[in-house]
């Protein structure tokens, strides 16, 4: 654990993701199997309860997380460090991280004994077993007084579930692969099947990745569609299956004999927000994993995404809200059925199995010409949907990929000429330039913000823009600065929604930069009334 902490500290120092992966992989190679399992577990999903209870996989998913609140950690720190609440609270406020505060304040107090990974794991188990808050505090106080401050910093960060060292699960997977000499893709795929990177790491060491079976009730990666800007680019329209592209919440429904869980694309569990979907899937025979879209649905049509979002806003859904915003699950793919993973089967076969289930399944069309495809696009738009999805009938399901076997035809709602009001330094390759732009539209009393865009310009354009923005800087806060509205961009977007964040009351959905309008002055950019008008057409 001491070395894990030192490794995390080193990873934090480097901005390059490649370097982070290398440092972590080097650390992994020094560990034995048991240590490797614990290290990967702690770095990916956090400590896991190893108690011997007969819980089913369904129950395991959300009950193994170690839940220790900040108040418990702070109380333990108060006792262990002998600092009073007043001093601790101002220290916490300056540092902004509980684990780091513990590490800083236990310097010179803790006796600095070494802590092995196995002993750290046992400590977490002890915390799992502790029946009362008082007991948890007691365990933590003893630990705080005993181990090295840097180790404590990360021991606590792992409890609070925020390492803040710029290390994502993807990089842990890559480091496991690098350390075990296997392709990153094999680790990624096995982790996607199992949802347990620690077990995957052990299998990778033993060369047994291929044996890993798929498991339900953990979110799997979604296959994504590549954007298609122009129908003319499509050679043979009849090579594709066509579906409406809905503007809902992309989700997976996992079911197994009455047990149902729903995960959104952000890998969040959203089961509780949609009880009617749980109910409708509870009677499905056998087990399975369905990919589809949650839609607010009235009279055979999907409602605006804004309306659907209200269902996510509350934790417990009231009956009145369910009546106001009824939802359905529009199924369009089947990833797993009766224990068998279907990812490598062609889409048509997966669909055949999907259509045997009593579900609402997306309608599929075909287009024999570009003109027919245009008609389908117009129909989809008339039904209030975003556009079309085109899928190869023989496409396998590629988790997390945007491979081109699926295409999406959206076409922007329109474009607007907007003016940059603030700019922020990017990250990674773009850390040294201003690459993220907040932009606004004109009103009688100045400009109001309607969104923020990151992509669409070339590196050279960003460099040039950075120079101009720095000259227009009004005020700087850290990596962000307000600028005098002077630079006009043309942005494309997929819709307009109401927003409480922006003063003007609207935000563009998925804005991206089309071009830098050097020919335009800020007073020539679009006004708020145009945004209002676009919103009205989208709701009606």
């Amino acid at each position: 654990m001491d070395r894990l902490a030192a490794t995390c500290e080193e990873i934090q120092k480097h901005a390059s993701r490649l370097k982070k992966v290398r440092i972590l992989a080097d650390f992994f190679t020094t560990l034995n199997d048991q240590e490797m399992e614990i290290a990967v577990q702690l770095l990916s999903s956090g400590p896991v309860w190893r108690g011997t209870t007969n819980r089913t996989l369904f129950e395991l998913h959300d009950k193994t997380e170690l839940k220790i609140g900040r108040s418990v950690l702070r109380e333990a720190l108060r006792i262990a460090s002998c600092w009073d609440k007043e001093t601790l609270s101002i220290c916490h406020a300056q540092v902004g991280d509980t684990g780091e505060t513990v590490g800083l304040l236990m310097r010179g107090i803790s006796t600095g004994e070494p802590l092995s990974l196995a002993a750290a794991d046992e400590l977490y188990q002890e915390l799992f077993r502790a029946a009362t808050t008082a007991r948890r505090v007691e365990i933590l106080v003893t630990a705080f007084k005993k181990y090295q401050p840097l180790t404590l910093k990360y021991f606590v960060k792992i409890i609070t579930r925020g390492l803040r060292i710029g290390l994502m699960e993807r990089q842990v997977e890559e480091a496991v692969a690098l350390a075990c000499g296997v392709p990153a893709e094999a680790v990624r795929s096995a982790n996607n099947r199992l949802g347990d990177l620690a077990q995957v790491a052990i299998a990778a060491r033993r060369g047994e990745l291929a044996n890993i079976q798929a498991r339900l009730f953990h979110p799997m990666d979604f296959m994504l569609a590549k954007p298609l800007d122009n129908i003319d680019e499509l050679q043979n329209t009849s090579d594709w299956l066509v579906e409406d592209k809905y503007d809902g919440i992309r989700a997976q429904v996992h079911f197994d004999s009455g047990n149902v869980r729903i995960f959104s694309r952000g890998m969040e569990e959203v089961t509780r927000s949609f009880p009617e979907i749980v109910e409708s899937c509870a009677n499905l025979p056998g087990d399975g994993l369905i990919d589809g879209e949650i839609l607010a649905w009235v009279e055979g049509r999907a409602l605006n995404f804004n309306i659907l979002q209200r269902r996510l806003a509350t934790k417990q859904v009231r009956a009145s809200l369910m009546a106001e915003v009824p939802v359905i699950f529009m199924a369009y793919d089947l990833l797993l059925r009766d224990g068998q993973l279907l990812l490598s089967q062609p889409l048509v076969q997966r669909r055949e199995k999907l259509e045997q289930l009593p579900l609402t399944v997306s309608q599929q069309f075909s287009a024999n010409s570009q003109a027919e495809l245009e008609n389908l696009f117009a129909d989809a738009r008339a039904r209030g949907n975003e556009g079309l999805l085109l899928k190869r009938p023989d496409s396998i399901y590629e988790p997390g990929k945007r491979s081109g076997a699926w295409l999406k035809l959206k076409r922007p709602y329109g474009t607007l000429d907007v003016v940059i009001t603030a700019a922020e330094q990017g990250s990674g390759r773009r850390a040294t330039v201003f690459s993220d732009y907040t932009f606004g539209v004109r009103t009688e009393s100045g400009f109001v913000n309607v969104g923020k865009a990151y992509s669409g310009l070339t590196d050279d354009e960003i460099k040039e823009l950075t120079k101009q923005l720095r000259a227009a800087s009004v005020e700087k806060f850290g990596r962000m600065m307000l600028v005098k509205p002077s630079i006009v961009l043309e942005v494309a977007f997929d819709g307009v929604q109401r927003s409480t964040r922006h003063k003007g009351g609207y935000a563009l959905r998925f804005p991206r930069i089309v071009r830098w309008r050097k020919d335009k002055r800020p007073e020539e950019c679009d006004g708020l009334e145009r945004v209002e008008a676009l919103y009205r057409t989208s709701v009606e």
Binding site: C91, L104, L105
Partner: protein
């Protein structure tokens, strides 16, 4: 002795003397050469010879202004002032920085100015003083601040510069115009690393050289000739280098670098928590050593530090003065 905490400085009415007054006044003691202390066109100023030089370099006189009378007070020297005895002692903070001991009617009062206890990279080492009343700063007056000793700071600075240069990347050190800047240049020059120095920092180097610190082989900063060199720049310039698109890695040498969030705040990759201010342990040690009947905490985390001292049985207060926090954040 009566002490008045006023907005522009500390005033001792019984002997008609100001301490670090930032607005023009008849006579003020200047503890060190930083611009938030050594400023204002006073009638008379008292300070160590080096501090007075920095003060005069920074002072811009209008035609109607009279040249201030400059009364030097070297380390260990005393002078009489309106019935009191004034003696200057080193404060480690920056070159020339001094504590002032004021002996008046059987009372010993010490004003630390900005201070650190440990040996600095350049400058004299603090001599802790005993007194009846102590006026002390608390820039890093929270227990989360434990900073690097000079040996570790030298090692970290040199290691970072060498690593970057080996990778073909330009190491950029952000330091303050007076004090940290010259210390970093001094360390880099001693290690034989070619160093390019921003003008705001370079202009004070001759004063350091006169005091016996060597600065062999540095060159003035030129934006076109940075290859193979370490850069030492002031914070504002560091920010513009960051957005220049050049292959650089930035190190932030400051007490504020003790916290991870300094990385996002400063944009620097490497954090070197070294300061010309005392860290929490040094401050506590200074207070303990003083054995003062009363401690007044000025600058920085005044209220929390006074609170901590009181919990240890020391009579300590944090006199209210406007504008404290902002001025110390600027030069940590």
């Amino acid at each position: 002795m009566e002490v008045e905490y006023r907005e522009t400085g500390i005033y001792l009415p019984e002997i008609d003397l100001w301490l670090d007054n930032t607005e023009p006044c008849p006579c003020t003691w200047i503890s060190h050469g930083h611009s938030d202390h050594a400023r204002g066109c006073h009638a008379k100023v008292i300070g160590t010879p080096v501090t007075l030089r920095f003060y005069r370099m920074r002072l811009w006189l209008a035609e109607s202004d009279a040249e201030p009378v400059q009364q030097p007070l070297a380390f260990g020297q005393s002078m009489n002032w309106h019935g009191a005895k004034l003696t200057a002692y080193p404060a480690s903070h920056i070159l020339g920085a001094a504590q002032l001991l004021i002996e008046h009617k059987n009372e010993r009062l010490v004003y630390t100015g900005d201070i650190k206890l440990r040996k600095p990279l350049a400058g004299d080492t603090t001599q802790p003083l005993e007194c009846d009343r102590l006026i002390i700063e608390s820039t890093f007056g929270l227990p989360i601040y434990k900073l690097m000793a000079r040996e570790l700071a030298i090692e970290a600075i040199v290691k970072f510069a060498k690593e970057c240069l080996a990778e073909g990347v330009t190491p950029v050190f952000i330091g303050y115009a007076l004090g940290r800047g010259q210390e970093i240049v001094h360390v880099l020059c001693n290690a034989g690393i070619p160093t390019s120095v921003h003008g705001a920092i370079a202009k004070f180097i001759p004063v350091y050289e006169e005091c016996g610190y060597s600065f062999a082989g540095w060159t003035p900063y030129e934006s076109r000739a940075t290859e193979g060199k370490a850069l030492v720049v002031v914070p504002s310039h560091g920010a513009s280098l960051e957005t220049s698109g050049k292959a650089i890695r930035v190190a932030y040498v400051s007490g504020w670098a003790a916290l991870d969030n300094a990385r996002t705040r400063s944009g620097a990759e490497e954090l070197i928590p070294y300061s010309d201010h005392a860290d929490f342990d040094e401050l506590t040690e200074l207070v303990m050593h003083a054995r003062a009947k009363q401690v007044d905490v000025v600058h920085g985390y005044t209220a929390p530090f006074a609170h901590i001292l009181r919990s240890r049985g020391i009579t300590a207060t944090a006199p209210q003065r406007a504008g404290d926090r902002a001025s110390v954040e600027a030069e940590g």
